[in-house]
Amino acid sequence: MTRPSRRLSEGGSLIDRSVQVGFRWNGEELTGFAGDTLASALLANGITLVGRSFKYHRPRGIWGAGAEEPNAIVDVEVGGRHDPNARATLVPLHAGLSAQAINAWPSLRLDFAGLLDAAHRFLPAGFYYKTFMFGGWRRYESAIRRMAGLGRVRDAADTDAYEARAAQCDVLVVGAGAAGLAAALAASSAGLEVILADSGVRPGGGLLWCDLAVAGESGADWAAATAAALAERGVRVMPSTTVVGSYDHGCFAMIERRRVDATGLAPDRLWQVRARQAVLATGANERPLVFSGNDRPGIMSAAAVVQYLRLYGVLLGRRVVVATNNDEAYETAIALAAAGAEVSVLDARVGSNEVVEAGRTRQFETQFDTVPRAVKWRGGVEGVLSSPLKIRTDMDKDRWLEADLLAVSGGLSPTLHLYSQAGGRLRYDERLAAFLPGAGPAHIRVAGAAAGHFEIDLAVESGHAAGMAAAAALGAAGTADVPLVAAQPARTPPAAVWRINGTDGRQWIDLQNDVTVGDVELAARESYRSVEHLKRYTTLGMATDQGKTSNVNGLAVLAEATGRGIADVGTTTFRPPFVPVSLGALSGLRRARLFSPLRRTPLFAAHQSLRGEMRDYGGWSRPAFYHGSEDGAEKAIQAEMRSVREAAGLFDASSLGKIEVAGPDAADFLDHVYYTTISTIRPGRMRYALLLREDGTILDDGVVARLDANRFLLSTSSGHKDAVLAALEEWQQTQWRRFRVAIHDVTAQWANITVSGPRSRELLAWLDGHLDLSDWVLPHMAFTETLIGGEPVRLARVSFTGERSYEIALAASRAAHLWRRLLDLGNGFGALPYGVEALMRLRTEKGHVVVGIDTDAATMPADIGFTRALSAKTADFVGKRSLMLPEATRANRRQLVGLATDSHHPLPVGAHVVAQGEGGRRSIGWVTSSHWSPTLHRSVALAMVEEGRARVARQETAALFSLGGHFKARFVAPCFYDSEGARLDG
C-alpha cells in the first residue's frame, strides 16, 4: 500500500534527519528519524488509523502529541521489551521497534467486533448493569472477559532490572516550560536545592513549538540555554521524567525514562522525591470540540498538529480546517499556512482581536460564530460542515468545506492532577471556561498555564513569582530577575462551547472509553447527578488517559443536563499515577530474592548443606524438611517424626523471638501485660503464657523464663516477635511508665537448638558429661544458665513435640559448631534433624496450637482451653476487661477441638464443619491443622468449632465440607498423643 509521506523536506527541531530509523507497524516496514516518537513516525508515513475504540471498536486515529492521547494505545516490542498498552505519543522511536494495533480482529481495517457499533443503540452507558443480571453474571463472564481490556500481557517474565531512587530537595519544579524554567531560575537563585523534572526529551514545553521570544532569544533557544545554566548552578535537571504522583508531606513519585540500550536495565526508573516546596508548572491540555462524529481519524488537537509540524516536520494536511473557541489555535493556523497548507479557521467567538488579526495577515480566512457540526469521512476526513454556532434560523449558512484535516481546539484545561492529588481544591473560572487551582496545600504553588496563565508573559511572571515565593517560604531570598518577554497581542477569553448539536450522529466526549453526550444525558435522566456517580456509571474519565481531554466536557454536559452550573457539578477525584506506570518500575529492586527480607537463622548454611528444603515460615527461611535418603517429602517428614518419637531429633528453633525484660519492676510489668501470672514463676523456672490484645484476643503465646528475681526471658512465636516487642514497648512507654524495666530484643543474638525425643537426655550427656540432667535438677519447664563444652548456654526443658526436650540457646556465632557436634553424636542414637513440617505434625498430634494457624484474630483464651476464672489473677492485665464482656462468654463461641477420622487421607485444612440449621446448612467452624500421623497410623486434625467442647462431651460426629467434597469425623479432645504427658519425662 502506498501512502503519501507527510514529512516535509525540512523542519522538525526534535528529529535528526541524518539518522534513519527502521520500524514495523502491523508488520509493515517503515522508517522514521531519530528523535521521532512512534506517533510522529506513523503520521509522517501517512498512517492515520491506529486503533479501534474500547467499546464499539470504532476506527480511531491519533488525537494528541503527549500524555493526553486517548486513541493511540498500541502494542510495542523493542529490544526484547514488550508493552501491550503503550501510548504511541510517548514511545521514542528506536531501530527495530515493532508496533501493532490492539483490540482489533482480524485486522485493524476489518475488525469484526466493529459490528458492535451498528448495535450501539442497544449498548448505551450502563447497559451491562441492566443486562448481565439475568441468569447470573457467570453466564456472561467468560465472553466479556475475552472482549474486555486492551493489549494482552505475555506470559514471559519481564527480565529487565528495575531501579528506584530516593531524592530530596528544597524545591521541586514540575514542568520545564516557560513558567517552570522561570520558577527554577528564581528558586535556585536563592541558593536552594532544586530539582526540575519535565516529561519532554528537551526542556522548553510549549516554547519548543510556539513562535515566541524570551529574553531576546527564540523560546527554544532560551529554554536550552536556561536549562544548561540551571544545571551549571547545581539544579538537577531531569528531562524525560514525569511526575506521576503527589502525596502527603511533600512526597512525589517520578518516572524517569532512560536510554539504557543493551545493559539489561529497565528504561523506567522510579524516583521518590521529598520536596519542602513544589512548583507545579504542568501546563494545560487542549480539549476537543464535541460535535457529531468528532472521533474520526483526521480530527486532531490543534496543538498537536502544530507540534508534529514544528517538532517533527510532519504536515498532516494540505487543506486544513482549524476550529476553535479560543486564541491558542491561531498558532496552529499560522504554522500550517506558513508550511503551505490551505487553512480555514472557524472561530466560535464573535469579534476579532489582535491575535486573530495577526493571523489574517498570514493568508487564511477566519469565520466567526462558526463551528464544525459534522465531518464527511470515508477512511479519512473529506469535508467539514461549517455552521453558525447559535441556533440556526437560516440553514443556507451551513457550508461544506473541503478538508483533509480538522484541527480543533475546544479550550485549555489546566493540568492540575498533581495539585488535586495533594489535596488542592479546584475552582471553576467562568471567564477562562476552565478549572483553576483553588485553596490547597501551603507547600505547593501552581504557575503558568496550569494556573490559567495561558499567555507567555503571564506564564513567565507567574513562574518567577512561584519560585521566589517557594524560596521565601524556606527563609531564602531569590535574586533572579523576571525573564523578559516581548509584549503579547491582546487576547479574548474563549467561548464556552461544550457541545455542538444539529446533525444526527453521536457526539463523543471520552474517546478512549467511548462515552457520548447521549450517555451522559442518559445517566442524568437516571438520576446520576453526582459527578462521581456519573463517572462510574458511564466510565467517563476512567480509561488509562484518566479523562485528560474529556473530563471538563463531560462535566459541562452533565451540568446542562441537570440544570446546574459547572461549578456546582464539581470535579471527580484525581488519583495517581498521572500516566500509566509499569509494575516493574514500582517494584524496583524488590523482586525475586530481594522481594522480601526473609530472615535467616545462624544455621542457614548448615541446613543448606543438609539439603534442607528452605521455605518461608513466619518471615524466616527455615527447613521444611531435609531431603534425606528417603524418597520424597512425605517419607522424609515421616522419618524425621519417627526419629523424634523413637530416638531424638535436632531442630533449629533460632527463629523464636527472644526478649529480655529486666528491672526491679519487671515481674509487675509482665503481670500487667500477660494474661498469665508471671510474678509467681520462680527463678530457674518457666511458664507457658498468653499475651492478649486489648480486645481480649490472643496476640501471641510463648514461654516465659525467670532468669533471676529481676530478669525474664520471653520466648515468642517466630513470626510475632516484632508485634510482641512493639506491644511491650507501647504499654511500657504509654501506660506503665512507672515500672522500671528495660526491654531488649536479643532474638538474633541467640541461636536455639532443640534436642527432642526419648533419647535426648542421653545425647546431651554424651555432648557434655559434666551436665547434670537429672529431672530433679532440671525438670520439665526448668531453665538454667550453664556451660556446654565450655560455651555459655541457656538450657531449658520445654517441649512442643510432646517428648522430653531440651532447648539449648547459645551465641549465634557458636551455633554451627554445636549443631555439627550434635549431628555427629546423634548418628549413634538414630537422631535426625527435623524440619518445620515434622514439627507441625508432632505438635498437632499433641494438640499444641500455633497462634495464627489454629487461632485467628477473634480467638480468646477460653476458646483454646484456658478457662480459669479471671479472679484467679489479682493484677489487671491487657485484655482483662474484654474477657468479661458478653462476647467473650457467649456459649456458642468457637472452641478448639480434635477431629478424628479412620481415613488415611487427612481432612482438608480449611474444610468447614457444617451443621443443619433452620436456614439450611451452615458453617460452625473449620479445620485449622490436619495431618497424617505416622505415630498413630491415622489422620489427626484440630479445628475451631462452635460449642466445640460440648460436642466433644456429647461424642458427636462432625460433618465437613470442602470444595465440593464431604467428610465425616468424630469430635474428640484436642490431644491425640500422650494426653497424660508421661513422655515429657520419658
Partner: protein, 199 residues
Amino acid sequence: MVDSETHLPFAYRDFAVRAVTPRSQMLVSQLSDGGAAAFASLLGCELPRTPNRVVRTAAVLAVWMAPGRWLVVDDRPRRTEAAAALTRFLAEGRGAISNVTDGLTVLELSGEGTAEVLSAATSLDLAVALAAHDHAARTLVAGVKALLYFGNESMSLRLHVEASQAHFVVAWLAEAARLRELGQPPAPAAAVTAGSPSS
C-alpha cells in the same frame, strides 16, 4: 556476624562494603537515676543524651537508641575488672545490659558512591540525618531496620542491622551498586578497581 552465604566484601569503582566485627556490642538501659552516669564511668565513655547522637572514644562508641537506652560498641579486649564492675552495676539494679554482639551485623560502606547507592535503599535524607560526625540515624535500609552513623574514616558509614537480615541488606546494596554501575558511562579502565562483587 554474617553467614557464609553472604558475599562480603564487595567493591565497585567508588563503592565498597565490608563486614566489621567489633569485640562487643551491648544494649544498655538505665533503670535508676544516675544509672547512665554510673555506666559511663565504668565504660570510660559518655552516653549521649540527645536523640540520634553518637559519642565515641578511640575504642568505644555509644549511640542513643531510645530514652534511657544505648547501643555500646566496645572494641577493647575483655577485662576481668570491668566484668566485675558490670556485675556490681547490674546487681545494684541501676541498669540492664544485653549482649548483642552476634545479634547485630556491622557493615562498613565506603566510597564516593555511598550516598547514591544508599538512595536506592532508603528514602532518608542522609545529608540532614547525618549532617555531622556525631549524628546517627535509625531508619529502614532495603526495608530492614538499620542504624547508620559515620565510621572512623570520614568517607565511610557504619550500618548495623539485625544479623538475621544482614544477608538481605548486603544483597540489596550489591544489586543497587551493580545496576548503578551498569547505568553509568564506562570509566577509563585504570579507574576500575573491581567490576563485579569480589569475595
